[in-house]
């Protein structure tokens, strides 16, 4: 039985494709059920974040056969009919274990060393565990992955400094607004990343925070935690004219903010600058909006450019982390770990 990984991430595909493969959290248990009932895999975890959609599975089939079935499952599940070239990647042991550890440590993240992914990975694993879709193999691999992530965090400098999406958002805000102390922030969608981004802005002294979410109860809880105010989801547009920074991360399947909606609001706000951070996949904000004057829109892929520079600065630490991960992966597999990242991820299919 082998642990395999099939998926797509910000390394292999743009947000326009990733958003079409994203799983809403509520859909994951049913998807896992379908996957396991197909008898292709014995255990499975689905990780779906804004930067990656991955299936971690334990299978008794030969990996090439399992990969074909997993690809078919992913494509069918999302009614995806466009051609695929290198967007999907496949990993079998030992690279699959090594990859899981790298993901847990944030080494495969857009913003190197960020910690949000560990929480998202734990959540994905817990969801599969609660519904009985994991077994001895995946339990051991994931528990070790969490331990390695903790070890890396305490023993290396990989997670120090400005490495999160929240910190990058703060840097952007500081390049647009004279003083963050006068700014009002709106959080649309009470997700984990948006909460962290809002906290990063709060730590720089933003004036006020408004939270809105489809589930108003969640918005109220987050607003209380942030010291802000919760509003009903259908009222967010009314508050928009007083807002300077928007963090959007809803799971809406379509744009919630487009040019037609924003243009009259910009007139009401007397064309004051507006920073829009769209960390949702599928995207919440129409890209066309970035062409509007005094509006600055950044989606999850746009942050990649900023993350790249941090990547350069932390190369030394990456080498250390990879050495630790290789040793830990070897302990799990009972054999020497895979070589450093070269050839670690391979495209799954030549075309479709």
């Amino acid at each position: 039985m082998a642990l395999v990984v099939l998926g797509l991430s910000h390394h292999s595909s743009p947000v326009t494709i990733r958003e079409r493969f994203a799983f809403a959290e509520a859909r994951v248990p049913a998807a896992l059920e379908v996957l396991r009932s197909s008898r292709v895999v014995e255990e499975a975890v689905i990780l779906s974040t804004c930067n990656r959609v991955e299936i971690y599975a334990v299978t008794s089939l030969a990996p090439p056969v399992a990969f074909d079935s997993l690809r078919e499952f992913l494509v069918t599940c999302h009614n995806y009919s466009d051609p695929l070239t290198d967007e999907l990647y496949k990993l079998s042991e030992p690279q699959s274990v090594y990859h899981l550890f790298k993901v847990a440590c944030g080494l495969d993240s857009m913003v190197l060393g960020e910690t949000e992914i560990l929480g998202q990975l734990k959540k994905a694993y817990d969801l599969a565990l609660q519904h009985g879709h994991t077994g001895a193999r995946l339990n051991k691999a994931f528990q070790r992955a969490f331990n390695v992530a903790k070890h890396i965090r305490t023993e290396t400098n990989i997670q120090r400094g400005s490495v999160s999406i929240g910190s990058v958002a703060v840097e952007l805000a500081e390049k647009i607004f004279s003083r963050l102390g006068d700014r009002a922030v709106m959080v649309i969608g009470a997700g984990d990343t948006s909460e962290k981004t809002a906290r990063a802005l709060l730590s720089r002294g933003v004036r006020s925070i408004i939270v809105t979410n489809r589930s108003h109860a969640k918005a109220v809880v987050l607003a209380q935690q942030l010291g802000g105010r919760a509003i009903q989801f259908d009222e967010w547009a009314k508050e928009f004219q007083n807002i300077d920074i928007v963090i959007s991360s809803t799971s809406a399947p379509h744009y919630i903010l487009d040019r037609v909606k924003l243009e009259p609001v910009m007139k009401l706000r007397r064309n004051r600058p507006l920073l829009l951070i769209d960390i949702a996949v599928p995207r919440d904000i129409e890209p066309e909006i970035n062409f509007m004057e005094n509006v600055f829109l950044y989606n999850i892929d746009d942050l990649q450019t900023i993350a790249d520079d941090y990547l350069k600065q932390r190369k030394q630490e990456v080498a250390r982390c990879e050495q630790i991960i290789r040793e830990k992966a070897a302990a799990v597999l009972g054999r020497p770990g895979p070589p450093p990242s070269s050839g670690e991820v391979s495209p799954a299919f030549g075309g479709r």
Binding site: L172, N271, N290, E293, F296
Partner: protein, 255 residues
């Protein structure tokens, strides 16, 4: 100028004290030359086109050197240098430095104050166009999600917009006062009405209206940001390109 190009290419990440030092040296030499010329003429050297242009340049550099005492504003020089270079080349054009010979009446203190205020107002407009250029550069980098936007030493675009607005307003006030004093000085001539259609007077009125339009557009109709910055640059380019021509055509200023 060459060092500014270097700084532009490096995304303003380098310490630009070299640029500041070079402008400081140039300012010292310029001040010495102006003092010597002033003593030779026995009045403030702002009475012909060459002198007015170089005085506007001098005031522009003086404001920059004060701003540049704060390291975070020093990069301003990388934007100011190309503008100064352009104005300097313009000032060296032939026939601008006319002989201080026949004039319409004796230059009075009011004439000097008028010329000095006009030069200072153009200096302020020049600096506002420099700040507007900085705004457009940073806005462009932010819009296109370039990493240069985060690593450059440029201040936030909102602050730059405020700087453009304040410099423009200061320039407008100086221009208004300068024009009022000029009108008073003109009224003391023998036949002031003969100069009603003087090209320089008409042109000055037009420049005044253009800047008034920009100010009203910003404060009344909230047309800030990119459009405002382009307006500040466009207006100053118009001033630079037409200043010499109208002066040559003006019997009042070029008898």
């Amino acid at each position: 100028m060459a060092y500014s190009v270097f700084l532009w290419r490096k995304g303003f990440r380098r310490d630009d004290y070299v640029n500041y030092s070079m402008l400081l040296l140039g300012f010292g030499l310029h001040t010495t030359a102006m003092i010597l010329r002033g003593f030779r003429l026995n009045h403030c050297p702002v009475t012909n086109l060459y002198e007015a242009t170089t005085f506007a340049m001098w005031s522009l550099v003086a404001v920059y050197l004060v701003l540049g005492l704060w390291p975070r504003f020093r990069f301003f020089g990388a934007f100011a240098s190309p503008v100064l270079f352009g104005i300097g080349v313009f000032a060296l054009m032939p026939n601008l430095d006319a002989e201080h010979g026949a004039r319409l009446g004796t230059p009075t203190a009011w004439t000097s104050v008028h010329a000095a205020l006009m030069a200072l107002s153009y200096g302020a407009f020049g600096l506002s166009s420099v700040a507007a250029l900085m705004y457009l550069t940073q806005e462009h980098n932010l819009k296109l999600h370039k990493i240069k936007a985060l690593f450059s030493l440029l201040p936030p675009i909102q602050r730059l917009e405020v700087v453009v607005g304040r410099l423009l307003l200061s320039g407008f006030v100086l221009l208004t006062v300068g024009l009022v004093i000029g009108a008073y000085d003109l009224s003391r001539l023998d036949h002031p009405h003969a100069y009603r259609g003087d090209p320089k007077i008409v042109w000055s009125g037009l420049v005044w209206l253009i800047y008034l339009g920009l100010i009203v557009m910003r404060w009344k109709f909230a047309q800030g940001g990119r459009r405002f910055a382009l307006g500040a640059i466009g207006s100053f380019v118009f001033v630079v390109l037409t200043f010499w021509g109208t002066n040559v055509l003006s019997p009042l200023h070029n008898p």
